[in-house]
Amino acid sequence: MSDTASPEVPQSTQRRHEVNQSPIARLERMIEIRLVEDRIQDLFAQGLVSGTTHTSQGQEAVAVGLAAATRATDFVCCTYRGHGHALALGMPPAVVLGEVLGRQIGCMGGVGGSMHLSDPDVGLLPTFAIVGAGTPVAVGAALQFATKKTDGVALSVFGDGATNIGAFHEGLNLAAVWNLPVVFVCENNLYGEYSPLESTTAVTDIADRAASYAMASEIVDGQDVDAVQASIARAVARARSGGGPTLVEAKTYRYVGHSRSDKAPYRKDGELEQWLARDPIELFAGQLLASGELNPDALDAMRHRQLQLIDEAQERVLASPTAAIPRMFENILSPSHS
């Protein structure tokens, strides 16, 4: 993927375009997400970053499927577990890594950190670190599209645990009664922090919750990027054509702990292995190999190239200065008015 976008087209928009267009780019992006998040964990382990981080290894197909099914002009509200979505939507790896490392090259110049990524060029609103907070905000973004009668769609991405918070229910109901173009995407990775779904949640399928709001819903295999893309595309088409909101539940799994310090002792025996056997990257690579769209040498070259790009991104990040003190005083209030 080129680092030499034309000056008129932001690099993230161009990267989004690639994911929209080509299955090969989608595979590449999933590999990129995995490598970037592995790298983030390495950098934490090396003591180069303080604080915490929430990575999403195992959930890459949801992020990439969502990005592929939507436009850079749509709006997306994600969570603290947001590196994968940010990369999928188009944010370049150096910009993500840079923010995590508190460097000036980061999307917020290093004052936000891992939980706070945003990229207006591709409609990524600042990721929400408060569980549930992004859901009503996405409803508002959809209201904007509806009011202005454009065919944009807003998306809210959240975990299974977030469906137990009031904001989720209020947000879905409001979207339903106002018939807004919004797609609620639940990444059901079976755990909310250290608690298994069944210990905190009255339903097994989050999609069932849509019924309370007379809302369309779908369950999709979150490890299958094509299936995720198709499912979200159906929901997006419904939204764009005035058919109202949809709740899409992607069944997925995070291979890692909730956050950096979590070793996930709560996992059930054999569960991780079962999910690793259906790794979204391996599944999709296998499909592309089987269909002849990719050959084994090209796949090797792709993995190698991605690793190289991430090494390069890391170098640029480490060469970028840490956030400067005056930056913390910037952007608190907007100086403009209408």
Partner: protein, 330 residues
Amino acid sequence: MNQAISLAISEEMDRDASVVVFGEDVAVAEGPFKTSEGLLAKFGPERVRDTPISETAFLGAAVGAAMTGLRPVAEIMFIEFMGVAFDQMVTEAALMHYLSGGRYEVPMVMRASVGSGLGFGCQHSQTLERWMLGTPGLKLAVASGARTAYGLTKAAIRDNNPVVILEPRTLYGQRENVDIGDESIIPLGTAEVVRAGTDVTVVALGQTVSVALEAADSASWSGEVIDLLSLMPWDRSTVLESVRRTGHLVIVEENQRSGGWGTEIASVVANEAFGVLRAPIHRITAPDVPVPYGPELEKRFLPSAAYVQEQVSSLLSTKKSPSSWWEELV
């Protein structure tokens, strides 16, 4: 400090079977900050419960349970998460005693971690006492280490009012010897003089107590450091008595400058002890910005011991409030 909190709760659960604990990942995982260690094993799942991510539901449940016969200790993992359940604390819990003409009591405790210093970013690093300040019907205290956390937690659980205990999260790993038992209970509303001195009264809270002590320990001035401990109610007499001796008051706050807890202390002291003040009351605070992430910035956000020392020295020598470090930047 986390062990001291676990122990305080455990002892109170032993003492009174109506004490129950709930919050996110407090039971099986023993608390995200390990502040409920051993509680599930000892008291079982009836009294120690994990909740869904539903702060409104479980804080509200704490209110109802408290009014009708239990003594819940509810944990809000980060004080920011109270935002989604604000109503239950400041509009329900705080007013039930009043609204029942004094017939219902709300003996509940809401514990929450607070503060900057761990690189968690601006939505997980605030102290937010100001959200509750001035709410009639609530008590509010802030721990400054293991000993005070132990003493305040026990006092809070025994109190028949809704009590909020804030725990600076950088201090969970802090260790000190703690004498256990009822003698170590710290009554809500009492401050402690943690260092005697004659030139200046330095009032601190939570994470700034150790900052103020460090500043005073190597200073050219003799600082009397007061750990305020409780904000609602706060200990006017200890502060006023000290200011009457030193003639100077400096308040060291972690919160942003505007509307910080120190404004209340400053206004009362200005009213009650105007005649003895030999310099303006001076507040040392963080700037009016969200808590920044980059480590150097986050470190600068919280007043440092060196900065406090410098500011107090300047105040004492010039008898004028020194300007804050950021004034030349903004």
